[in-house]
Amino acid sequence: MNNPSKVTAPAPAPLYKKKEPVFNRRIDGPFRRFKWAVMILTLGVYYITPWLRWDRGPYAPDQAVLVDLANRRFYMFGIEIWPHEFYFVAGLLIMAGIGLFLVTSAVGRAWCGYACPQTVWTDVFQHVDRFFDGDRNARLKLYKAPWGPAKIARRLAKWSVYLLIAFATGGAWILYFADAPTLFREFWSFDAAPVAYATVFVLTMTTFVLGGFMREQVCIYMCPWPRIQTAMLDEKSLIVTYKDWRGEQRGSLKKAQKEPEKYGDCVDCNQCVAVCPTGYDIRNGPDIACITCGLCIDACDKVMKDIGRPRGLIDYATMEDCKAEAAGEAPRHWFKALTHPRTLIYTAIWSGIGLALLFALGTRSHTDLTVAQDRSPPYMLLSDGSVRNAYTVKLRNMESRPREMKITIEGLAGAMMWTDDMSRDNAQRELVREVPADETLPLRVYVLVPDGTQGQDFAFTVTSMDEQAETDTVETKFTGPGE
């Protein structure tokens, strides 16, 4: 038996960690201004896009960007995507994915630092904090203060604004899925579909919680993207780096002035940590918590300027460049740093897919035909010995105006066809139907061949009877007896 008093194992690490609140200080500088610009751009795009109009004629909605789930159409300015063309959307998603790879390999976690909705909304909420409770020290003080009427009032006011922002976020989302002005009106007169209210509620609550309270916890613990990025970053990727060979040994300005040969440039003022939106100390090296927003660069540059040292103690740099700089080599031109094989390959793939999509978009026909032959029964012997096959033929008119379309039998000598809404006596080798604007017209087509015709392949051809004269041909099969 062991004597408990002799166990010398260290105390086990705690299983759970309390969230450390972040009170990031206000900072101004080039990266902060860039962050403002990206925030205005992304929020602007998000809120304005549903209100843009795009004239498509009387048969189609006039909203520039619209995901029309009910009618299964996706509109994006001059482009209209049907469900059977979903590969365009798949292509766009692939481009978005490879675009992220490209951005990551070129400029590291730029997405995380500037454009990610979580980052943008966290930034908005942190400005709300600053507006209500003041800058870092005031917020810290209020956080530590006991709960009293004043603190409760401040918190309630702040959280109400959180809720308003969250509601505006969720509220704008639904406008992409229906005519924005109509839905906006219906929403406030409580005539909108229940799913609209449910969506707004869910998105309001997720924005409220994730942007108002979870913030950097989302980046550090929830989001898969930082983990993928750690695998994608290499020594050629731009990251925010503390140049320890220049900063260490760190010490206060006083100490450094006393013994300049002993201390580096870092005066340990902690400003880089104070401005960080995730509360990370960049001097500990790269970490999932660093979203590379560059605010610490702004803060450090300011301090360096004040103490008369060159800027860039904390800076965007690749690990390769850091190594070279530490060894005293001249820095590479930024363009050279960006054009390494990986970024070039990603660029090539990305633009290749983009060009292919554009080409497909430019050459696609707005007339489409699908044919499905009846399988049960495969053929039908009629009393006069002739043989009939049945087909479900769909004529697709992808123009936003009604069009006459002609469907013809190619091959299959002697064959005649009719549809189930007409009499066999009027059977012909070609039929003309008007297909409504932006719709698919299903037809049940019977094809009849005289006695003695063998089963064989043939084709249906559809031709739009307008100046475009678009055609589409589908090969199918005629099944005869004994097959």
């Binding site: 960690k17 009629l382 189930d420 009027n426």
Partner: protein
């Protein structure tokens, strides 16, 4: 395992002590809020088990306080669907079936309903594609024993064929010419030859023709075109319910088989029967409804002449 734990140099965090091909895992603490969300999930699951059916017991499970069940949800959905269809069903119930033909919208609705009902009630004999098989008529073709307009199909559905106990059922009985000694085997062979000659499958047979005239023409017609009022099949076309080879025809003359179709009136409601008639009529062989033929004129004399024929 525990002795493999060490403090990682770069992070200052203890490892969990496992190692796979040089890859180790840091023992970082979980965030506290994760623990709270875990507790919240446990609370939710308890509430869920109280509210919804959860625990399997011996004969049945716990029912949950909300009284929800998947059967109940299905019943509610079915009721909702039925309510949605109520308008169409009511309109169909009031509409004489021959008027369906001029009414595209109602016709489509009836066909859709009939397709569903067909799969439940009819496919057992007529097959999934309604193509029938030997002894069970094909409903896709243009050959009808009793008539192929929508009203006649409805009547056939209502009363069936040779259905005992239904006074209005369709009945026809072909004599067993061979078994009952009306014709000899040789005579049956001659008649068979004549019948096959009607559709060009054999050479003319004068003796057979005479026998046919005497015994068969009264029902099947002088030219073998059949007679629908007796359900007598057309013998001159390409469609044969019991087979077209000489042996099959001889056997049918010797001792005919007679199919039976149940009468559906009473088993299915009138609207479903109408829908089935519309569906069968839509399969490609449906005939246009004409003014009542003379034989049925007595049964339905004052036909409102509003049955416009499409095309």
């Amino acid at each position: 395992m525990a002795d493999n734990k060490r403090i990682d140099d770069a992070t200052g965090v203890e490892t969990v002590g496992h190692e796979w091909d040089g890859i180790e895992e840091l023992n970082n603490p979980l965030p506290r809020w994760w623990l709270w969300s875990f507790y919240a999930c446990i609370l939710f699951s308890i509430a869920y088990m109280v509210a919804y059916p959860a625990w399997p017991l011996i004969s049945k499970g716990t029912e949950g306080m909300l009284g929800w069940s998947s059967r109940g949800a299905l019943a509610a959905e079915m009721k909702e669907e039925q309510a949605k269809r109520g308008e169409v069903v009511a309109a169909l119930a009031d509409m004489p079936i021959e008027q369906l033909q001029g009414n595209e919208e109602m016709m489509r609705a009836a066909i859709a309903g009939g397709r569903a009902a067909f799969k439940v009630n009819c496919v057992q004999c007529h097959g999934a594609g309604a193509a029938g098989s030997k002894g069970y008529p094909n409903l896709n073709d243009d050959d009808w024993l009793w008539g192929g307009d929508i009203k006649t199909i409805e009547t056939t559905l209502q009363h069936g064929i040779r259905q005992p106990g239904d006074d209005a059922t369709r009945v026809s009985m072909m004599p067993a010419f061979g078994r009952d000694g009306i014709l000899t085997s040789a005579q049956i062979a001659q008649v068979t030859d004549h019948i096959l000659s009607l559709s060009g499958k054999a050479k003319a047979n004068a003796a057979g023709a005479a026998l046919y005239e005497a015994n068969c023409a009264v029902c099947h017609g002088a030219e073998g075109k059949g007679m629908r009022e007796f359900g007598a099949p057309n013998l001159s076309d390409a469609i044969w319910l019991y087979g077209s080879d000489p042996a099959a025809i001889r056997s049918q003359i010797h001792a005919p088989q007679h199919g039976v179709m149940p009468s559906w009136q009473g088993r299915l409601d009138a609207v479903t029967i109408k829908m089935l008639a519309a569906y069968v009529h839509s399969l490609g062989g449906g005939e246009d409804f004409q003014e009542q033929p003379a034989a049925d004129a007595a049964a339905a004399p004052a036909e409102e002449a509003s049955n416009e024929q499409p095309q």
